[in-house]
């Protein structure tokens, strides 16, 4: 499943389509790579008990995502094959996998904290994309920026909703991690 998501995100025709617009680049390709990594991390984390690694894992994912959300690196990944490769590798290995692993290790309080923070950060980033008058990425139109500004709040709403839905429908699995 994770491999299929990575192939889907990076296969040349799909990748070209996804990266043609900022909103599909971030909420399409980035999301596919992060979810792929999270599936791997969740699977690995479900086999080992190391609760102390949860918070550092989330922190690692935060920095990796923060780096690749910088406009200069979004632009760089479009024109520099080295940056593009580093982006794909680190979104899977340093953002997605730590998220999945950390989720499997974290207790309900830390999970709630992470979801609440992620949602609020997405809302702020959405507002920024709407409010900043200049184009932040040289490779994308201002309209793309505004569309991403609408997409972030949708993701902010969808993230806690999907976690709640998953917890509701599979209460014993603790959302893909170790049953507690």
């Amino acid at each position: 499943m994770a491999g299929a998501l990575i192939v889907l995100a990076l296969a040349p025709p799909v990748s070209a389509w996804l990266t043609a617009r900022l909103v599909t680049h971030i909420l399409g390709q980035y999301l596919l790579l992060v979810v792929a990594g999270a599936l791997i991390g969740s699977m690995l984390g479900g086999r080992v008990r190391a609760a102390w690694t949860a918070a550092p894992s989330f922190l690692m994912a935060l920095f990796a995502l923060g780096f690749w959300l910088l406009p200069r690196w979004i632009d760089a990944a479009l024109i520099d094959p080295v940056a593009a490769t580093a982006k794909a590798a680190t979104l899977v290995l340093l953002a997605g996998m730590p998220l999945g692993w950390g989720w499997a290790q974290a207790g309900p309080v830390l999970r709630g904290f992470v979801v609440a923070n992620a949602a609020s950060m997405l809302l702020i980033m959405g507002w920024l994309q709407q409010a900043v008058p200049q184009r932040l990425c040289n490779a994308y139109l201002i309209g793309d920026q505004r569309a991403l500004g609408l997409g972030f709040p949708v993701l902010a709403a969808g993230l806690p909703a999907s976690v709640l839905l998953f917890a509701w429908t599979k209460p014993g699995t603790a959302v893909g991690g170790i049953a507690r």
Binding site: W52, F63, R135, C137
Partner: protein
């Protein structure tokens, strides 16, 4: 305890990476990166065969020997290029007679007639202020790439591009990019180059 040590280690590595990835928190956008790079290491612009609003043929290298201010525009641009034109109009009034201004169009559809429209709008007169097209497609692409000008179609038949006022020294090196509002800074920098 080990959770705290691991978290601090990850935070330190993450902060270090972000510091590196933003040039010490100075550059979050590629536009800022471009300007910092050019200021730190001026770039020699490739020579390009040009044609101006009068139909005259010339080369970018003809400007070597004295500093020149460049801008990159397209003549049917409805917004940012009008502001660039106004900035050049102000420079035209502010700079000494010997100074030269060059508006370069990146739109291959801009022929001599259209360059003339743009020149007429701002009363640009060669040789003081030339409005020029680049004769060759590959050279145009090389010139834009060297200057870090990114041009993308806007979906309505026009273009979106990063705008700026470009200072080129007497050796043909791009030494600085200014915001189009920074006319006074361009004039001051041109004075420094001329000294």
């Amino acid at each position: 305890m080990r959770a705290a040590v691991a978290a601090i280690t990850v935070a330190a590595l993450g902060a270090g990476t972000l510091w590196w990835g933003t040039d010490g928190l100075r550059a979050l956008t590629s536009e800022t990166v471009r300007r910092l790079d050019i200021a730190a290491a001026p770039r020699l612009l490739p020579d390009a065969a040009l044609y101006d609003q009068t139909g005259a043929r010339l080369h970018l290298a003809d400007y070597r020997g004295a500093p020149v201010v460049l801008e990159f525009v397209y003549t049917t641009c409805p917004d940012i290029c009008l502001s660039l034109g106004t900035a050049f109009e102000q420079l035209d009034e502010a700079l000494p007679d010997a100074a030269r201004l060059l508006s370069i169009s990146f739109d291959p559809a801009d022929d001599t007639e259209r360059l003339g429209w743009f020149a007429e709008r701002y009363d640009a007169k060669a040789p003081r202020w030339r409005v020029a097209g680049v004769a060759d497609t590959d050279t145009r692409a090389a010139l834009l790439a060297r200057a870090g000008v990114v041009v993308i179609p806007d979906g309505y038949g026009g273009f979106v591009h990063n705008a700026g006022l470009y200072l080129v020294d007497a050796e043909g090196r791009l030494t600085a990019v200014f915001d189009l509002e920074d006319v006074a800074a361009v004039a001051a920098a041109l004075g420094d180059h001329a000294d």
